[in-house]
């Protein structure tokens, strides 16, 4: 898709955040008609029309974003079961949360999972994308193979995890056994639950592969070619040219995958929780959003769950902010003057 290619230089008014305050521009970048009195009168009608078009979002934002944010903040300061009136309790929920061992446990689980999930995804996706880049005409075919698992509903992925990673006679352990490696009890050994879930999640890596392949294909050929001519080997070529050139895409994946990792829910919930009762190894798979969800909709501690949600928001904000600060040094944006 060719979306943003035709924005002429100087089309944006100075002093406004350019990327946000942009409209469809003329090819030349010039206004078509000079401003006049009649035009100014027309511009009020224009504003009304604009508000008409964005009104769905304005209404939705008010009802499903702004109000819920405020109300959730309020609920986090109350004791509320969803039926009887909310009792204001000040910061009790936050104090309770700080001492709740399950919160610490679920936060730790989530951190471990994310710390395994993000780097492994980026590395594997990068390897696959680099292989695809060198695959010539068969790239499209293999790209489809790598992407298809991504279409599998997460519930089915959770089911597959239970089946393939079964400690006794599961496919994974049978395959490992063929190489003489005794496989662990992935679904029942607390130490192996999270690595197992991460391995399973690598199956759904398709989007990251497509993003990195697109980024790789945008690296100017002349750069890598001239490096080869200058005697750079593949490793030097990759680390000195390719990786810096695609660093914005790598950074994007790091941020997005971190946020996704912190909110992981469906696969682990399917495999270890639910109406059938928790399975005994569920402590190892108790991720933060699972705990939050259960507090809200299984135990109906909605005030407490709201406080949990705000802590999650805060953690994600801090981690993302740190990533942005670090990225200033590591990410190369073309046209940046530094």
């Amino acid at each position: 898709m060719t979306t943003t290619q035709r924005i002429p230089p100087g089309a944006e008014p100075a002093g406004v955040p350019a990327a946000l305050d942009r409209t469809i521009s003329t090819e030349s970048g010039r206004e078509l008609a000079p401003p006049s009195k009649a035009r100014r009168r027309a511009s009020r009608r224009n504003t009304l029309a604009a508000l008409g078009f964005i009104s769905p979002w304005l209404i939705g934002f008010a009802i499903f974003t702004a109000w819920p944010i405020g109300y959730s903040l309020y609920l986090s300061l109350t004791d509320y079961d969803g039926i009887s009136p909310a009792q204001f309790t000040g910061f009790d929920n936050y104090a309770r949360l700080a001492e709740d061992p399950r919160v610490g446990q679920s936060l730790l689980n989530t951190l471990i999972y994310t710390a395994l999930y993000v780097p492994s995804h980026i590395i594997v996706a990068l390897v696959l994308a680099m292989l695809l880049q060198r695959a010539g005409r068969s790239a499209g075919f293999f790209r489809t193979l790598f992407f298809l698992p991504k279409m599998t509903p997460a519930v089915a992925v959770g089911v597959l995890f239970l089946l393939l990673f079964n400690g006794q006679g599961g496919l994974i352990n049978e395959a490992l056994g063929a190489f003489g490696i005794p496989g662990p009890y992935w679904t029942t050994d607390p130490a192996w639950v999270k690595p197992g879930l991460v391995l399973m999640s690598l199956w759904s890596i398709g989007s990251a592969v497509i993003i990195l392949l697109a980024a790789l294909q945008n690296v100017p050929k002349e750069l890598t070619e001239s490096a080869t001519i200058d005697g750079a080997n593949l490793w030097q070529q990759t680390t000195r040219i390719t990786l810096p050139m695609i660093s914005p895409a790598l950074f994007f994946l790091a941020v997005v995958n971190t946020i996704a990792g912190f909110q992981t829910f469906t696969e682990a919930y399917t495999a270890f929780f639910g109406a059938g009762g928790e399975s005994f190894q569920s402590d190892a798979a108790l991720f933060y959003v699972i705990y939050l969800f259960r507090q809200a909709f299984e135990f109906f501690n909605m005030g407490y769950a709201s406080a949990l949600a705000w802590v999650l928001f805060l953690v994600i904000m801090v981690v993302t902010a740190v990533q942005f600060v670090v990225s200033k040094r590591l990410v190369y944006y073309e046209g940046d003057q530094k």
Partner: protein
């Protein structure tokens, strides 16, 4: 190219050697086998590349093969890890419809998916057009808010949103699963706006001079031009709605209202953990849940790939 003529050339460019005074016959003789070597090394690289890709492709496809194969096995053989079933039987595909209300779940999911995809694509296109075409005060700030909502974890708004639908008496129905989409979604607004921005303004000004009103301009000119982005929004949302588990978990209580992921989860609870151990039913239902998504991908492959690639670019 010519500037580097004296150095060893990159493979493939066998021509381009300028007749340099120093490049005597001696050097020519030395160069020929080296080039042959180079070409051979490149060929080996190609073979290794394809071999690794085939191997990895098999690894990625194997879980599908395993699942489909298991769905054609009788209960006792489901876990034997054979790729070709020892006893091949389509019985599970007959039993699954009788054992669980799979047809109802499928119907519910089709309804939710269609409504969710169409409403979100339409409303997001409208909003995106409002931001892309018109010039009005506060546009930049408002669009900043649109982008900011993408950063908000769903967990923060989840509970108050539930309370809204509960107050409206909509819990237990399919409405909360799609009706929020009537108000657009930040990601698709962003995607469609980017697309609109890439169109030349002259087209719209010309239509305006020809007497097209605001609605005609959007409906008959802008929207058809934005078809690729519109289809991307439709497909992405269709996938999201079809596969979502958390929203149905929150809002649906009775089995007759379940969507297919919610139903599948109920099966895992009942037949997996519940002690009935009818895994062949769960496996068969998983195949039936997944198949429409595989078809969706093949129908819209180009749009999926383009949509995902552009998402990454915007990072």
């Amino acid at each position: 190219m010519t500037a580097h003529a004296a150095r060893p050339l990159p493979a493939g460019s066998t021509t381009g050697i300028r007749h340099d005074a120093a490049a005597d016959a001696h050097a020519d003789v030395a160069r020929a086998p080296r080039q042959r070597n180079h070409r051979r090394r490149k060929q080996i690289g190609r073979i290794v590349n394809r071999a690794v890709l085939v191997l990895l492709g098999l690894v990625f496809m194997y879980p599908f093969a395993w699942l489909i194969s298991a769905s054609f096995k009788p209960r006792g053989e489901v876990f034997d890890n054979r790729l070709i079933p020892e006893t091949f039987t389509p019985q599970n595909y007959i039993d699954v419809w009788a054992e669980v209300p799979l047809a109802v779940w499928l119907m519910n999911t089709v309804i939710v998916t269609a409504l969710a995809a169409v409403t979100v694509a339409m409303s997001s296109a409208m909003v995106a057009w409002g931001f892309a075409y018109f010039r009005f005060k506060g546009r930049g700030v408002l669009f900043g808010f649109v982008l900011a909502t993408m950063m908000l974890p769903g967990a923060v708004t989840m509970i108050p949103t539930f309370l809204i639908w509960n107050a409206l008496g909509m819990t237990g129905t399919l409405v909360p699963l799609w009706a929020g989409n009537l108000f657009g979604s930040a990601f698709y607004v962003f995607l469609l706006r980017q697309f609109f921005l890439g169109l030349p303004r002259e087209v719209f000004e010309a239509a305006r001079i020809d007497g097209a009103g605001n609605f005609r301009l959007f409906w008959s000119i802008a929207l058809p031009l934005a078809k690729p982005a519109f289809i991307i929004a439709l497909l992405f949302e269709a996938q999201a709605a079809w596969t979502d588990l958390m929203t149905p978990l929150i809002y649906l209580r009775d089995s007759e209202t379940f969507t297919i992921p919610r139903g599948l989860k109920a099966l895992v609870d009942q037949f997996g953990f519940g002690g009935n151990w009818n895994w062949e039913i769960i496996i068969t239902a998983s195949v039936i849940t997944t198949l429409p998504m595989i078809i969706l991908f093949f129908v819209g492959q180009r749009y999926f790939v383009d949509g995902i690639a552009t998402t990454g670019m915007k990072g």
